[in-house]
């Protein structure tokens, strides 16, 4: 830019890595013209742990707990993706009972992830109250996880070929009770936010990303749906029996932050719908497919992706026929969605940058792996 407003020179401002609204350790270098953002650069990698390298030095079963540590807000989805990828290589499918339980747990996880997103995003924009409420609801989900598999956050809930743990007594009632309360609770959040003038003013027309841009940047998940593309891997390429469930893909037209908020709230409601249907589908049966104790897939490669709460989560696994994966590549939705920050923030005000980072729903553990 040759001439800036009032002849001011360009100001470079460093945001992060320790900044509360970057959701972790993300560093954004902002180029500013007054209050206007003229360019951004994200510096990531502060949380890099070399997950893909670790995978090459572990057996297939041993690597499963590590994937939970990427997107730790949605660890169950991570585990599902990995298990499906290895199952694909082995050419086995989890038994129906295991699939139903997987669906229930991943959908609960989607709700939990969206709840966290909602709470932190609202917090970024100055609304503190929703955070306490969403944490309360998330607690119920985590309690279900704790009772089911013994851990709350890094669950390691699924195993390759099915499940390790069968349902505990009272699981169904507990999930049903949760489904009953979450609906009104989501209404409550909507009462707090949807019509709230501050919320609307802070979000409408902020961080707009239209469908074309989304595709060019590879942006998936709620961001893509908020831009009007009715695309959800659960429908497009169903896995784990999603084709049997009746649910809708919420979409919006504008592709701004407000639309993403609406889409995510709707997704929570749809997730509850799926969980209810899944509860009816639970039937007795085995929970583990026939998988050898030592997992040794034939030589080959497979790319399997699932609809994680944040977008398309893909695993590209290459096997060389040994007990350890030759290569595991994770396609992290946060990492790729984060790339679009520059496009969204350019031309907006500096105060909106927090909203834009928040609206993507990133988890730095997944960005940096």
């Amino acid at each position: 830019m040759a001439q800036t407003f009032l002849d001011s020179t360009e100001l470079v401002l460093n945001m992060g890595p320790q900044h509360p609204s970057t959701h972790g350790v993300l560093r954004v270098i902002l180029k500013l013209d007054g209050e206007k953002v003229t360019g951004t650069e994200c510096v990531v990698g502060y949380l890099h742990r070399g997950v893909e390298k670790i995978a090459e030095n572990r057996t297939y079963a041993q690597f499963a707990p590590y994937v939970d540590r990427m997107d730790y807000v949605a660890s169950v989805s991570n585990g599902l993706g990995y298990c499906l990828a290895v199952e694909k290589l082995l050419n086995v499918e989890a038994p129906p009972r295991a699939q139903v339980v997987r669906v229930i747990l991943t959908e609960l996880n989607r709700i939990a992830s969206h709840l966290i997103w909602l709470g932190t995003h609202a917090l970024d924009l100055g609304a503190i109250t929703p955070l306490f409420y969403v944490m309360r609801e998330r607690e119920d989900i985590l309690n279900i996880y704790e009772k089911y598999c013994g851990a709350r956050l890094t669950t390691h809930a699924f195993r390759i070929g099915g499940l390790q743990y069968d349902l505990y007594d009272g699981f169904e009632e507990e999930v049903k009770r949760f489904c009953d309360i979450i609906g009104p609770r989501v209404d409550e959040y909507e009462e707090l936010l949807t019509g709230n003038r501050i919320w609307i003013a802070r979000l409408t027309n902020v961080g707009v990303l239209n469908a074309e841009d989304c595709k060019a940047y590879g942006v998936t998940g709620p961001l893509l749906r908020a831009a009007g593309v009715k695309w959800d891997l659960r429908k497009a390429q169903p896995y784990s029996g999603y084709q049997h469930y009746d649910f809708e893909i919420p979409t919006r037209a504008n592709g701004d932050s407000y639309d993403r908020y609406i889409v995510r709230v709707q997704e929570m409601r749809q997730a509850v719908r799926i969980v209810r249907q899944a509860l009816d589908r639970i039937e007795p049966g085995p929970i583990m497919a026939k998988v050898a104790k030592v997992i040794k897939p034939p030589v080959g490669e497979a790319y399997v992706s699932i609809e994680a709460p944040k977008g398309e989560l893909g695993y590209f696994v290459v096997s060389d026929g040994s007990t350890q994966p030759y290569r595991v590549r994770v396609r992290p939705p946060s990492f790729i969605n984060l790339q679009a920050v520059d496009r969204m923030a350019r031309g907006s005000l500096i105060a909106d940058v927090c909203a834009i980072i928040g609206t993507i729903d990133i988890v730095l553990g997944e960005v940096d792996r």
Binding site: G45, H48, N57, P298, F316, Y326
Partner: protein, 194 residues
């Protein structure tokens, strides 16, 4: 903390890979043929060496020089408008050491294909950022992790590792406990990160 338990457990993984070299050759893939492959074969008669399907997932193997053009052709002519992922696999025993893998998806067809190409260490490949903007960070990551350079990339530098780091961690000859000791000493002021 140098950990004796860990150190003694690690040699085992190192011993496992001998099965590796024959990996790409013996994948039990079947030929892939449909209307799309015919069009591609027509367009790029001697650039594409293989059309295969494995576990219901189709991929083609192309010469590195043609990759950008194929990706563009697929985007414009066949609706493969979404580059889902771009990554690499290292086969150190091969003369063309790396497999670059492009995973493409088409919203219109609801289809996923992979483009694979082989390049040698030190060889440059044309960047696909001009076709798919998302390749920007993905190529940076491949460069960071494998040391594969992309020509005409707008901003090719490390992304996950620190800028001054030496070595490319996802290469097979980079040990899991290995690190850039000089960098660690200079920047963190400690002898070792272990």
């Amino acid at each position: 903390m140098a950990d004796p338990q860990n150190a003694e457990a690690k040699p085992k993984p190192a011993a496992a890979p001998p099965a590796a070299p024959k990996a790409p050759a013996s994948m039990a893939a079947t030929p892939w043929e449909d209307e799309l492959t015919r069009r591609l074969a027509e367009q790029y008669p001697d650039q594409i060496t293989e059309f295969s399907t494995y576990l219901g997932q189709s991929f083609l193997v192309a010469k590195p020089a043609a990759v950008v053009s194929i990706v563009e052709f697929l985007k414009l002519e066949a609706d493969f408008d979404y580059l889902a992922d771009l990554t690499a696999v290292d086969y150190p025993k091969r003369s063309e050491r790396f497999d670059l893998v492009y995973i493409l998806y088409s919203f219109a067809r609801n289809e996923r294909i992979r483009i694979k190409t082989r390049i040698a260490d030190g060889e440059k490949i044309e960047s696909v950022v001009g076709v798919h903007l998302t390749a920007n960070w993905l190529e940076r990551e491949v460069y960071d992790m494998f040391g594969i350079e992309f020509a005409n990339h707008p901003d090719l530098k490390r992304i996950l590792m620190p800028d001054g780091w030496e070595g490319h961690p996802l290469r097979k000859d980079y040990g899991i406990l290995q690190m850039d000791n000089r960098w660690v000493k200079e920047n963190l002021g400690i002898e070792s990160g272990q």
